[in-house]
């Protein structure tokens, strides 16, 4: 029997939380100051580790992550998906106590080839230092993490229980090993993000104001007065009803950084020159490959899409995990690295206002290259976005096909391209079918504010800016009222 089971049963049965925080195996609940380095927000962590050889470990791991048992190895019938849902809800509730997390997910990745093992990928977007983040995770869910990584190769504590600070250090060391903690090749953050805690606080303030206004009937101006008069009345209400929240708001960081074109030019300039200099041979090499590279045969949606959608649109936010082999040969790998590097620079210095080349619905997205040794390389894509998949892919095609074709045209089966960035993703049905075909179901996904879109986050932030600092003129206060 695998190690995860006791914990699985415990959560499934809805064991009282006290056992986790007060039991002999748990550690003292961390001091309120979980985040020591408050200058860091929304950093990306990617940890990919091989799962122990043998299908039973993959099954075991899937059970720990999803609550679904693929087969009943202990003689019991497979758990109903209702139980599995309750299990996942239990995990989510637990994760809600995390202080550092915006998003995180665990996904079992298929092996690169028959002789290889499956991999477990973890991604998170976190506030504070890496150490703050890992401590936070182990503060809230030590047993869960222990059960997860007990299914993985080389986990030092696999044969023992999880006992306090010493084991936490060993587990952290395992996760942060050089071969496990992968760098991203490109990373996008929708507008330099506020800490997750602040995003939730600001949403609560927004909701409190709306509830207050609703209590005055469909037309609150009738009670609060014309022009900018309602502004002060709303602040008065907050001071009276939400003093603690207001205090926290006043202590939160309020400034947004600005984009830096100078830095952008300085970085992308040399690349542009290099491409120009080598244009003719590069073009010939590229076109030769583009005419012979095979695109995936299907033009229509693979039936697999029907399974993927079952876990989509349960709330406004959605996730995408996508994994595809990089085309063989050094030319494609080098091209891919260059494009990803350029996208990363653009995301860092140009697209900092919540708009990735026209895409406004992405909270966080990243590309990671996985080295499969003699099996070549695979490109992994994680995205946390708003709205339906159909909308997201539609935006890809309508607004951002150039950049995305530039990246994915270097991977297997991608629709035919012209000159690296032409055609490709513009082939709507084929591109969508290709994306679904290489999409992987995320076994466990968590968002700390799943009910908020990027635009909700920014609007709440603007509302709170106007609470912390009183808009100077009556006109500006009226403008602020229109944010509600």
């Amino acid at each position: 029997m695998g190690i995860g089971v006791s914990h699985f049963e415990e959560i499934r049965r809805g064991a009282p939380k006290a056992r986790e925080s007060g039991g002999p195996q748990s550690e003292p609940v961390a001091s309120p100051a979980v985040i020591h380095d408050a200058t860091l927000t929304g950093s990306a962590l990617t940890v990919i580790v091989p799962i122990r050889a043998g299908e039973e470990w993959v099954q075991e791991l899937r059970k720990v992550l999803t609550g679904e048992s693929g087969e009943s190895r202990d003689g019991k019938a497979g758990k109903s998906s209702k139980d599995a849902k309750a299990y996942r809800d239990g995990l989510r509730k637990k994760f809600d106590q995390l202080e550092t997390v915006h998003f995180m997910r665990w996904v079992i990745l298929p092996p690169a080839s028959a002789s290889k093992q499956s991999l477990l990928a973890f991604e998170s977007n976190y506030d504070g230092s890496l150490d703050d983040h890992l401590n936070d995770l182990y503060r809230i869910a030590p047993k869960f993490l222990h059960d997860v990584y007990s299914c993985c190769e080389g986990y030092p504590l696999a044969s023992s229980g999880f006992d306090g600070a010493r084991d936490r250090a060993a587990a952290k060391a395992f996760l942060t090993k050089k071969e496990h903690m992968l760098p991203y090749a490109a990373f996008y953050v929708s507008r330099r993000k506020k800490p997750a805690r602040q995003i939730r606080d600001e949403a609560a303030i927004h909701d409190a104001i709306q509830t207050f206004l609703d209590s005055l009937g469909p037309n609150p101006a009738k009670t609060l007065g014309e022009a900018d008069a309602p502004y002060d009345k709303i602040i008065e209400y907050l001071t009276r009803a939400k003093p603690a929240e207001l205090e926290r708001l006043r202590n939160s960081p309020r400034k947004n950084p600005h984009r830096n074109y100078l830095s952008l030019g300085w970085r992308l300039g040399p690349l542009a020159l290099a491409v120009l200099a080598g244009f003719v041979p590069l073009w010939i090499a590229l076109r030769r490959r583009e005419t012979t590279d095979a695109e995936d045969a299907y033009g229509t949606m693979p039936a697999k899409a029907l399974k993927l959608v079952e876990r989509e649109d349960l709330q406004v936010q959605n996730q995408l995990t996508h994994l595809v082999e990089v085309k063989p040969g050094r030319f494609r790998l080098l091209t891919l690295r260059t494009v990803l590097w350029a996208i990363d620079v653009l995301a860092r210095y140009r697209y900092t206002e919540g708009d990735l080349g026209g895409l406004t619905t992405i909270h966080y997205a990243r590309w990671v290259l996985i080295d499969d040794g003699d099996d070549g390389k695979r490109l992994l894509f994680f995205s946390n976005y708003d709205g339906s998949w159909e909308r997201y892919l539609g935006d890809f095609i309508d607004q951002a096909h150039v950049g995305l074709t530039g990246i994915w045209s270097n991977t297997n089966g991608f629709p035919k391209t012209f000159g690296l960035i032409g055609a490709g993703a513009k082939d709507e049905e084929r591109f969508k079918a290709w994306t679904r075909a290489h999409q992987i179901e995320s076994d466990l996904w968590y968002s700390a504010y799943g009910h908020l879109t990027t635009r909700n986050v920014w609007n709440n932030n603007a509302i709170c800016d106007g609470i912390v600092t009183r808009p100077a003129t009556a006109k500006k206060r009226e403008r602020w009222l229109s944010l509600l």
């Binding site: 709306q210 469909p218 649109d313 709205g387 635009r455």
Partner: protein
């Protein structure tokens, strides 16, 4: 939008409903059928083809169209391999288990869930719809009876909907309907106004991505060419609840009975005044000068002070108002258009009237598109039922949204100095039935009628078997 390599539309092959809602036909009915005897059904379909209305006739005074669900294609004997070339959403159909994906995204939940439907649910399967149009009720009944005689033994009637002809093209809430319709490129020659590439509405032609859309095939033959997909949803409208709600919110807002405010609120919900004048042209009071006006954009109104962001017409066709900019928005919107061909049904009810025994009334929503997932389902999910549409926080479409049963929804009306907001909005439109249909071309209908089945040898359709009176429907 002009394209140089556009193919001429094959009018003789395309069912007439694509080009016209048949305004001269005041009466119509939809007969929802199930195949009972495969061989007889094929034969019946074969005899029907010559009565089907095709092409761009100049608005006939009588018409007939026919369409099939995926279960209908299967029942007629289309093989699995061919069925699998149809889009997944069509294969699955509109109705699924109540807790499945499609009802969830379309808002077919609570009392509108498929298990409560009058037709189209797995228990009340529909294979085929026969759509009859005539200039008057007497004529319609005559045709209906003849058809009922014809299909008896071959197909059984699951449900029958007779449409209602409300005055001035109005729907039951009292608003002029069907003003904004895209024009099909190539239908009338010129490219005037709101024209969309034919491939958005007819298979076999270039779509807004400048691609020929994927189409179903059978035995290497293009089954989709000149056909399209049709969504039918029977939507019951709770007219009493709608106007009582508006009156209630108006009372709350004004501190007393206020019919003017109630109509203002209703207009804000719709985005037009009852006579059809858009709020973008006249936002605080009705002005008949703008009735039926459709030449407007939203760029002057980013905050929705004239037409609320969440208003029904703004969500169902956002024109230039989506991110990141106007040009991109128009392009994206044109890739999600649908042709609406619906009609009202049931007896009208006066504004603010109360009914002691409630009779069903509403709209048989019918739309045509070549990609149900990208067009109809997208509009329904990402615009209509999306409580985060275009920066909103928790607003659904106030008219047709599902209003999140159990959670409740709100409607925000941006206003100076503070928004109006209608909390606890209830659902006014309930789903009573529906299905996804394939509206085949003439050639595809003939092909389907000649399918060979497990039961009997193929029977070739013969027009001699058609009763002469039915030829009225032919073009």
């Amino acid at each position: 939008m002009a394209s140089t390599n556009q193919k001429r539309l094959d009018f003789e092959q395309i069912q007439g409903l694509v080009f016209s809602g048949y305004p001269k036909c005041a009466s119509a009915c939809y007969v929802l059928l199930r195949v009972e005897d495969v061989a007889k059904a094929r034969h019946w379909l074969g005899t029907l083809v010559s009565n089907v209305t095709f092409g761009e006739t100049s608005h006939p005074s009588s018409a007939l169209n026919v369409a099939l669900t995926s279960s209908g294609l299967k029942a007629l004997g289309l093989d699995k391999e061919a069925l699998e070339t149809f889009p997944l959403e069509f294969q699955e159909g509109l109705a699924q288990d109540d807790d499945a994906y499609r009802p969830r995204i379309l808002g077919d939940v609570g009392g509108s869930a498929p298990s409560h439907w009058s037709w189209g649910s797995p228990e009340k399967r529909v294979d085929l719809v026969l759509m009859l149009f005539a200039h008057g009720d007497t004529e319609l009944e005559r045709q209906l009876e003849a058809h009922q005689r014809n299909f008896s033994g071959a197909l059984s009637e699951v449900h029958l909907i007779r449409t209602a002809n409300l005055p001035d093209r109005r729907e039951h809430f009292g608003f002029v309907d069907g003003i904004a319709q895209p024009k099909i490129q190539g239908q009338t020659g010129g490219d005037q106004g709101d024209t969309v590439r034919a491939g958005e509405f007819i298979l076999g032609y270039e779509n807004e991505f400048e691609k020929i859309p994927n189409a179903p095939t059978a035995r290497g033959w293009d089954l989709g060419q000149n056909g399209t997909f049709m969504v039918v949803r029977q939507l019951e409208q709770d007219v009493e609840a709608f106007w009582q709600s508006m009156a209630h919110y108006a009372r709350e807002a004004s501190g007393g009975e206020d019919k003017v405010r109630a109509e203002w609120l209703a207009a804000k919900c719709i985005g037009r005044w009852p006579n059809g004048a858009p709020l973008m042209k006249t936002w605080d009071r009705d002005d008949p000068k703008f009735n039926d006006e459709n030449d407007f954009m939203y760029k002057d109104d980013p905050d929705g002070l004239k037409c609320p962001i969440g208003a029904h017409i703004r969500r169902s066709n956002p024109r230039d108002s989506l991110e990141p900019d106007e040009k991109a928005s128009l392009k994206a919107t044109n890739r999600r258009r649908i042709l609406r061909r619906g009609r009202a049904y049931g007896p009208p009810l006066e504004r603010y009237a109360k009914e002691t025994s409630r009779r069903e009334r509403g709209l048989v929503f019918i739309c045509l598109n070549t990609n149900i997932r990208r067009q109809f389902e997208f509009v329904q999910q990402s615009w209509i039922n999306n409580d985060k549409f275009d920066g909103l926080n928790q607003d659904q479409d106030p008219i047709v949204g599902d209003q999140k049963p159990g959670e409740g929804s709100v409607f925000t009306i941006p206003h100076h100095p503070l928004r109006f907001r209608l909390p606890g909005l209830q659902r006014f439109v309930h789903v009573r039935g529906g299905a996804y249909f394939f509206l085949p071309s003439r050639a595809a209908l003939e092909f389907l009628s000649r399918l060979e089945g497990e039961t009997r040898a193929p029977r070739i359709a013969s027009s001699a078997a058609t009763p002469p009176m039915l030829n009225r429907g032919a073009t």
